[in-house]
């Protein structure tokens, strides 16, 4: 992140592990807010529990509400409905938003509450020590699936789209410009918007899946990200192993 964005930050350093993608997402977030010239006084970040919940709280200089595990979207719903002038951005992880908080996520999308929900998806529970998440790829190793994950992961974009999200986008943190643009589109969407940022976790996912090199983990993740055009050429089995990236907007 350039020094020009430092006025958005409260603390000189973050608690993220070396190689974590969440710092890039934090940079994209504050850049999106900066480019939209959002009024910091009317900006509220809400997060749950987990590594991603630390992206806004305590790092970002604005109002922050660090809630309980899974509940960020429900807290945000109350704040937004009570004061519609607030721009409310939820930032949390895949385990927080899609497992324990899955019900709140789909209901907020159904209600079309004007929230931007940003999911930092590292495909594992990072903070608690590398357990399986509802987004962990089939067969991937984790602390609770030492023989490989037996269950299919959620496609979060399909999930929120099915629940009625007006705007949904998925980008890896290795593509910060489209990610930043997607965040800007989401924040300016007059309704429920969802952005999934694929953000690798070397400490837990990489280590447990024998990818000891951070750059190798990033290359591996980049390899699984395919555009919709490219995905069309893949077989269903191949597509199941990929993450389709881009914007997903109703025509």
């Amino acid at each position: 992140m350039t020094r020009a964005m430092e006025h958005w930050l409260r603390v000189p350093h973050t608690a993220f592990c070396p190689g974590c993608g969440h710092g890039i997402l934090m940079g994209a977030l504050v850049r999106a807010c900066d480019e939209l010239a959002l009024d910091r006084r009317q900006l509220l970040f809400v997060s749950g529990i987990g590594c991603a919940a630390w992206i806004p709280s305590p790092n970002i200089r604005a109002d922050t509400l660090h809630t309980l595990h899974g509940r960020a979207v429900a807290y945000a719903t109350g704040a937004k409905l009570a004061n519609p002038k607030l721009t409310v951005i939820v930032v949390s992880g895949d385990g927080d938003l899609a497992s324990i908080g899955g019900n709140h996520l789909i209901h907020a999308a159904r209600r079309d509450v004007p929230l931007t929900v940003v999911c930092a998806n590292n495909e594992i529970y990072g903070m608690t020590g590398g357990q399986t998440a509802p987004t962990t790829p089939l067969g991937a190793l984790s602390a609770t699936d030492p023989l490989g994950n037996r269950y299919r992961p959620f496609d979060l974009i399909a999930l929120v789209k099915g629940a009625g999200a007006r705007y949904a986008a998925r980008w890896p943190v290795t593509q910060p410009r489209p990610l930043t643009d997607a965040l800007k589109r989401a924040i300016t969407t007059p309704g429920f918007a969802f952005v999934e940022a694929i953000s690798p976790c070397p400490t837990q996912f990489g280590r447990r899946n024998r990818v000891d090199d951070v750059t190798k983990l990033y290359d591996q993740m980049a390899g699984t990200c395919v555009t919709r055009e490219a995905a069309r050429a893949l077989s269903p089995a191949e597509r199941a192993r990929c993450l389709v990236i881009g914007e997903f907007i109703d025509e």
Binding site: S57, T64, L65, H66, A74, T77, G78, K80, L81
Partner: protein, 387 residues
């Protein structure tokens, strides 16, 4: 001897006193919320409390407030907390099974010092129990249900009038002490229809805001800090993790945790004299006294009157505040009488607490059959234990 402290202090006679009308207790609770300036309600349907949300669904938006039916009680409580920090006087209502789901939020609201009101219309538990029947089995859950040490406030109405008055008082206490406040009603009071005056003889406590002082710390070990809201420009850091006075997380430090946990308890306990209200009847010469609350208080008073007619020197101390426990009032009563009887619709949840504060005998009369305790049952119990 304890005296009846009036339910709502102060008077701001706004126009003529309204005519009495007959209302259901749950309706009166909703009226109390509207009168107190409630601006946000989030809830989930549950018997026997649903009438509260139904009234507010219609009336709150007309008053400029927000009503939202959430996907469950966990989300309802979460939304209420979010709305409170966004500046609204916020409330929800539920019954036992919903209360169980709200516990995590109760701990969060206590620790983040979030003012809000929860009306719990208790039904016969445990589990789903008997949804349409009466009970008061949530008394200890609201006190101790959240993990860690918290100190919520709980009021206990015995009439439709008190459903109105106590909901208003609950909003005032919530704002004054920055804490969740329960109105611990029961199905008996919630579904009772009787006369109520929707008066305006009360003052409303306004939230103390301000960005120049720390929002989560106070120089006094039992102080209540000011509470800026989202949009005030305070760059708030609200967190359920241990935090310092400005909200920075302190997840490994001993001192900030100790300081914060003690203060959120002491700010309530040190002000028990302001918070605790009791209603004493026929106590001046009583040898035996009943300690009762909620709907059981009505049966207790009927039993006292019947026994008095028969010459038995018995009185009643009705607890209008259950938490913090009116320890001084109960202890004084324990010194003045020879025996206490505690009738309640559980197996002794308050009776056990009474025993902690007195040396005289305390007889429990617990009833858990989903029905109100009849005055005759209380009368029989008193006659059995007469010294």
């Amino acid at each position: 001897m304890p005296k009846d402290d009036s339910a709502v202090k102060g008077a701001q006679g706004a126009g003529p006193r309204p005519e009495p009308q007959v209302l259901m207790g749950n309706y009166a609770a909703a009226e109390g919320a509207l009168a107190a300036g409630c601006g946000f309600y989030a809830g989930y349907p549950i018997t026997p409390s649903s009438e509260i949300m139904e009234v507010l669904a219609e009336r709150l938006p007309r008053q400029g407030g927000v009503f939202v039916q959430m996907e469950d009680e966990i989300a309802s409580f979460a939304a209420v907390i979010g709305a409170s920090w966004a500046g609204a006087k916020a409330m929800t209502a539920t019954a036992g099974p919903g209360l169980s789901l709200m516990l995590e939020g109760i701990g969060y609201a206590s620790f983040t010092e979030t003012p809000l009101v929860l009306v719990d219309v208790q039904r016969a538990g445990p589990a789903t129990g008997q949804a349409t029947r009466v009970g008061s089995g949530d008394v200890l859950q609201v006190r101790y249900g959240a993990h860690g040490d918290t100190c919520p406030i709980a009021l206990s109405p015995w009439s439709v009038q008190e459903m109105y008055d106590q909901v208003i008082r609950a909003f005032n206490l919530a704002e004054r002490y920055r804490t969740p406040v329960f109105v611990l009603a029961d199905e008996g009071v919630g579904h009772l229809r009787e006369t109520v005056v929707l008066h305006r003889d009360f003052e409303l406590v306004a939230r103390v805001r301000g960005n120049d002082q720390p929002p989560f710390g106070h120089p006094d070990p039992d102080g209540v800090p000011p509470m800026p809201i989202f949009g005030d420009g305070a760059n708030l850091m609200v967190t359920g993790s241990t935090h310092d006075a400005w909200g920075f997380r302190k997840v490994d430090d001993a001192e900030p945790h100790d300081l914060l946990v003690r203060r959120i308890n002491r700010k309530i306990l040190d002000h028990a004299e302001d918070i605790c209200e009791v209603d004493g009847r026929f106590l001046d010469d009583a040898e035996v006294a009943l300690v009762a609350y909620g709907f059981s208080g009505r049966s207790a008073l009927a039993a006292v009157k019947a026994l008095r007619r028969a010459g038995v020197k018995v009185g009643l101390l009705r607890l209008k505040t259950l938490w913090p426990f009116p320890a001084r009032q109960v202890a004084e009563l324990g010194k003045a009488v020879r025996r206490l009887v505690v009738p309640e619709m559980n197996l002794g949840q308050v009776g056990g607490v009474v025993r902690q504060h007195v040396r005289c005998d305390v007889e429990l009369l617990g009833q858990v059959n989903g029905e109100v305790i009849e005055p005759e049952a209380i009368e029989r119990k008193v006659r059995e234990v007469l010294p």
